[in-house]
């Protein structure tokens, strides 16, 4: 620690940091623009000026930029110095010269860093009297709105988009007072992290286009801490609602997980909650086979009567539902009748992932991915399946540059200097994949192969690491060469990491990755494994355990005598429409609990509308086995309620213990903890419903929420009682604690004088560090103490066939995930169905450019436009999975391709 004197007062600070970082960490107000805790300093805006004194005797001092000056021991500075203050006021006056002063019509208004800093510097009077320069704005696609006149040239956007996120279609143009930030021409921002511009830009240039479509000021938004439901990483989000409409998703900082950034699927996938077509009413099928609305009470009564005392219940669970919902189902139907709602392939992958995590491979958090200094990505296209992990991996390659900078005496926060010193130097990132990926540009070297060959590659590397004979296995020389380079890099690293996942449906790949991590750990290295998982609660469901749908399909003879309850699951996405239809048709009676309208709605006898992630509180388990609590942000309208409550209601109707006793979420959590020891401690993943701060619940609405007494004035002159919330420590009101609660329960970041997202630093122990009182969930999977025998089974090499191609699933950040695909903005980015072929394979099938391909995969025949993917291995094709316009296919699978006749 070092001593820093600020206006004569001594503070203890971190000497490896800069003055701005330390001043903000001390809670001092010092205005800034271009510096960002995750992007470092460049000294571009000149806003953070302070007076620096040589020693005690120096009363003159010099003006320096706080963000560019190290907090060396004994440094003396002044923030209140007249000249420094005047300098800061002049800088902002000059930045505001061309600013349109259009706050009332600006979406940033009320949560704008530029507003806050202008007020903070005391620039209140405009002297500039000349015409302002104006710019044309660009159409940047469905996510980000552009209003260039508001720009203050801080360069944060281009530094985030290009330098940090690796974007190539964004830049800065012109010079002098004509500096323009945008694309070379109008068009969709291609980078998967473009939405972060909305938070990175301190002004109203880049704003959330989806919020604009149903705009509400920050002070009128009701917010809650949430967890992104769109993949297995569980990024922390803040979700906000007004008047029954979910308005936006923002990043919620977490030091261990997503840091300052989200992917665009996570930020823009939310609007499925507002979809007009979603399920809102209880309904039941009449004798004529038509679904009719029915009041919930009557429907439940009728259902329970039909179920009678002893009709056996069968439950199909879901990796997109909460632990509480799945557990309620398990409790109601009994464990032996509880089926994990996924296919045999999904099941095999989930089981393997859990086994390797429990056995030999400790799982890495996103922060640990970012801090790894050598990475092998084995098979998983993480940009598409676990997007935020790709952004973390992109930062991990910078460790070599940090080390070099350190040797040169450059502090890591000196962003430009570090990047310049790096001169392209990267830490090792090796990517093995079926096809080209969007992370390739950051990689040291890429290797392509069929899934089984990638598994073999993993074993080849593992064998090299443990210097074992390959047990008679020989690997082709290209694979040997690559594996040698990877092995050397991983063994030479201090924190090596292997990344893989379940998206290719290839358990051998997971085995190989585990084998590799095991080999590295045997060498004494703290190697970790990072897993991409397709759904928000894949790990939670795997931990709960049960048989897959495959087992249920084997036992359909039981079905006619049983009632089937399907929980938040579109079975046609798991086992195909035909098989799903068979399951529905054979069951004696069917109940569907879901929020999404899908084929199952047309089959079920009873349809109960479920709450989405925004309308209920609950717990999910992310890819690293971290149990995370997400909180309800608003009370859903109509008949909608949390799935576990529907199941509880059925249990009550049937007099089943213990569900009939559950009234609040914590009751379910406590039963869950008692019943299944793996979930021990789960209730403490976040503050429980009984938590109070200064005797108060935590307010979801800010002090300044307007019109509270007026919103219902046209219906009732009395003020409405806010809905009660017995599931969480939060309240649907502005009355409650407004300060800083523990990390997992912070509804919104807001501090006096700091109205924008930059208020976050007031909630952190130190700027960029953990949240005060953060316990970001609870890790459920303890790594094994000793390295046991690891997975050894090497699959045979992939052999291309003459008569068929091996089709693997291709995942898309926009389209492959079920819930986000229901959001209009995301829908605009979903690719049209296609088949990707290696040009040689296409030529062999007689396909020329522009032809339509006729495919036969399993029992499914398809006609699709084909596109050339020259990087695909010979004999392998790929088909997009999960797109709304694609039929379900059991992939990977062999299939035939030919030119379609007209």
């Amino acid at each position: 620690m070092a001593t820093l004197y600020v206006d004569g007062q001594a503070f203890s600070v971190d000497p490896t940091q800069n003055l701005l970082h330390e001043c903000l960490s001390l809670g001092l107000d010092l205005p800034y623009f271009c510096w960002h805790p995750a992007l470092g300093s460049v000294g571009a805006c000149r806003q953070c000026a302070v007076k620096l004194f040589r020693d005690e005797g120096d009363h003159q001092g010099v003006i320096v930029m706080a963000c560019m000056t190290p907090a060396d021991d004994g440094t003396r500075i002044s923030l209140v110095d007249e000249q420094a203050r005047d300098f800061r006021a002049r800088v902002i006056e000059w930045m505001m010269a061309h600013h349109p002063h259009d706050c009332p019509v600006c979406d940033e208004g009320g949560e704008c860093h530029l507003q806050d800093m202008t007020v903070m510097t005391g620039h209140v009077h405009r002297r500039y009297r000349f015409p302002k320069r104006t710019f044309d704005n660009q159409h940047l696609g469905p996510f980000v709105n552009h209003e260039m006149n508001r720009c203050i040239q801080c360069y944060r956007c281009v530094r985030f988009y290009n330098d940090y996120a690796g974007g190539t279609d964004f830049g800065v143009f012109g010079s002098r007072d004509h500096v323009y930030f945008g694309r070379a021409a109008d068009g969709v921002l291609e980078n998967e992290f473009s939405g972060n511009l909305v938070e990175v830009c301190p002004t109203g240039v880049f704003t959330d286009k989806t919020l604009k479509a149903h705009y509400t000021r920050k002070w009128d938004l009701q917010s809650a801490p949430s967890v992104c439901p769109h993949c297995g990483l569980g990024c922390h989000t803040t979700v906000a609602e007004h008047d029954g409409v979910l308005r936006r998703v923002q990043n919620r900082f977490s030091a261990d997980i997503n840091g300052y950034f989200l992917c665009d699927r996570g930020r823009y996938g939310y609007a499925f909650v507002n979809a007009p077509e979603r399920l809102r009413r209880t309904s039941l099928r009449n004798a004529a086979g038509r679904l009719n609305l029915a009041p919930a009470d009557a429907l439940l009564q009728e259902l329970c009567t039909r179920l009678g005392g002893n009709m056996p219940l069968i439950g199909i669970a879901s990796p997109r539902a909460s632990l509480e919902a799945n557990f309620a189902l398990r409790t109601l139907v009994k464990p032996e009748n509880f089926f994990l709602g996924w296919s045999a392939v999904e099941d095999a992958c989930a089981r393997t992932m859990l086994a390797v995590a429990r056995g030999i491979a400790p799982l890495a958090s996103l922060a640990e991915v970012e801090s790894s200094d050598a990475i092998l990505v084995l098979g998983e296209d993480i940009t598409q399946t676990a997007p935020r992990m790709a952004l973390a991996a992109r930062q991990a390659v910078r460790h070599a540059a940090f080390a070099k900078a350190k040797a040169l005496g450059i502090p890591v926060w000196q962003d430009l200097a570090v990047r310049q010193a790096a001169a392209g130097l990267k830490s090792p990132l090796f990517i093995a994949s079926v096809d080209a990926t969007r992370l390739d540009d950051a990689a040291t070297e890429c290797w392509r192969g069929a899934p089984d060959d990638m598994a073999r590659l993993g074993f080849a590397i593992g064998r090299r690491l443990s210097r074992e004979e390959a047990g008679g296995e020989t690997f082709p020389s290209a694979m040997e060469g690559f594996s040698q380079r990877v092995a050397r890099a991983l063994a030479g690293a201090a924190r090596p990491l292997v990344v893989t996942g379940s998206s290719l449906g290839c358990p051998a790949l997971l085995d190989a990755a585990a084998h590799l991590v095991g080999a590295l750990r045997t060498l004494g290295l703290p190697a970790k494994l990072a897993l991409g998982m397709p759904e928000r609660n894949t790990m939670g469901l795997a931990l709960m355990g049960g048989e897959s749908l495959h087992t249920l399909e084997q036992a359909t003879q039981k079905l006619p005598a049983c009632a089937l309850i399907v929980l938040e699951n579109d079975l046609s996405r798991r086992i195909g429409e035909a098989a799903a239809d068979r399951v529905f048709a054979q069951a004696g009676l069917t109940v569907l609990i879901d929020h999404k309208r899908h084929a199952g709605v047309e089959r079920a006898d009873y349809v109960l509308p479920a709450a989405t992630f925004a309308e209920e509180s609950g717990t999910t388990v992310n890819h690293e086995g971290r149990a995370q609590r997400f909180f309800q942000v608003f009370s859903p309208p109509d008949d909608i309620q949390a799935s576990w409550r529907w199941l509880r209601d059925i249990g009550r109707g049937l007099g089943r213990e213990p569900c009939d006793r559950w009234t609040a979420l914590d009751d379910v959590l406590h039963t869950l903890e008692e019943t299944l020891p793996v979930f021990h401690g789960l209730a403490q993943a976040a503050p429980e419903a009984t938590y109070r701060r200064h005797g108060l619940k935590l307010a979801r609405k800010p002090h300044r929420a307007s019109g509270r007494t007026a919103v219902h004035a046209h219906l009732d002159i009395h003020e409405h009682q806010p809905p009660t919330d017995c599931d969480s420590p939060l309240t649907f009101s502005m009355e409650g604690h407004q300060g800083s609660p523990p990390g997992p329960a912070i509804p919104v970041f807001w501090a006096p004088g700091w109205n924008s997202v930059q208020a976050l630093s007031h909630f952190q122990r130190e700027v960029g560090g953990t949240l005060c009182g953060e316990g970001p969930g609870l890790l459920l999977i303890a790594p094994a103490q000793q390295v046991p025998e690891f997975f050894q089974e090497i699959p045979p090499a992939f052999v291309p066939r003459d008569d068929a191609l091996y089709f693997v699933p291709a995942w898309h950040i926009f389209g492959s995930e079920e819930q986000s695909a229901g959001s209009p903005a995301v829908r605009e980015r979903i690719p049209a169905p296609y088949v990707a072929l290696r040009p040689e394979d296409a030529a062999r099938a007689g396909l020329a450019a522009g032809d339509t391909a006729a495919l036969e995969v399993g029992a499914v025949r398809l006609r699709l436009p084909w596109i050339a993917h020259p990087e695909l291995p010979q004999g392998v094709g790929s088909l997009p999975v999960g797109l709304p316009a694609m039929p379900w296919l059991m992939l990977p699978a062999w299939g035939a391709v030919a030119k379609a006749s007209r």
Binding site: F170, G171, A184, A423
Partner: protein
């Protein structure tokens, strides 16, 4: 596609730079030398040839005032309008040029021979007022000598 000559000229500069990115300015200058200005298509060709994102090349092209992204006349006149030349009467030269070339600053004469631009200091303040026609610097220019300079075609 860039012409054979353009590529040859660019490659001649290449050894002077550590990266292809650093070659960008010269590539633009060379292409402009051959084509008079850098069209959208030329910009894309430079980007493709150097393997750089279009937005980067456009950033460089728009940063430099003397990379022209619109067609210009056969010759570009740069009239210094900075302090020394302003004191010494560059305004009068500009008025003359406007009238003579029938265009304003930023425009091209109807016959397509000249584009009129200003420049902040041409580094020859001791001979103010100065201007450049094409590549040639003219010092101590007066309203009287101006028609001559233009007549000679620079």
């Amino acid at each position: 596609m860039l012409s054979e000559e353009e590529r040859r000229d660019i490659e001649r500069e290449a050894p002077n730079y550590a990266t292809r990115k650093a070659l960008c300015i010269d590539a633009l200058r060379i292409v402009q030398g051959h084509r008079g200005y850098v069209s959208d298509q030329a910009l894309q060709e430079v980007a493709d040839y150097l393997g750089l994102p279009l937005s980067h090349v456009e950033g460089v092209a728009t940063f430099y005032n003397l990379i022209f992204r619109h067609p210009v006349g056969a010759r570009v006149i740069l009239v210094c309008d900075s302090v020394s030349c302003w004191i010494m009467g560059c305004e009068r030269l500009l008025d003359r040029l406007r009238a003579h070339l029938e265009t304003d600053v930023g425009g091209t004469s109807p016959d397509g021979r000249y584009t009129l631009l200003t420049a902040p200091c041409l580094g020859a303040c001791d001979f103010a007022p100065v201007l450049m026609i094409g590549e040639t610097l003219h010092r101590d220019v007066t309203a009287e000598t101006l028609p001559d300079l233009l007549g000679k075609g620079g």
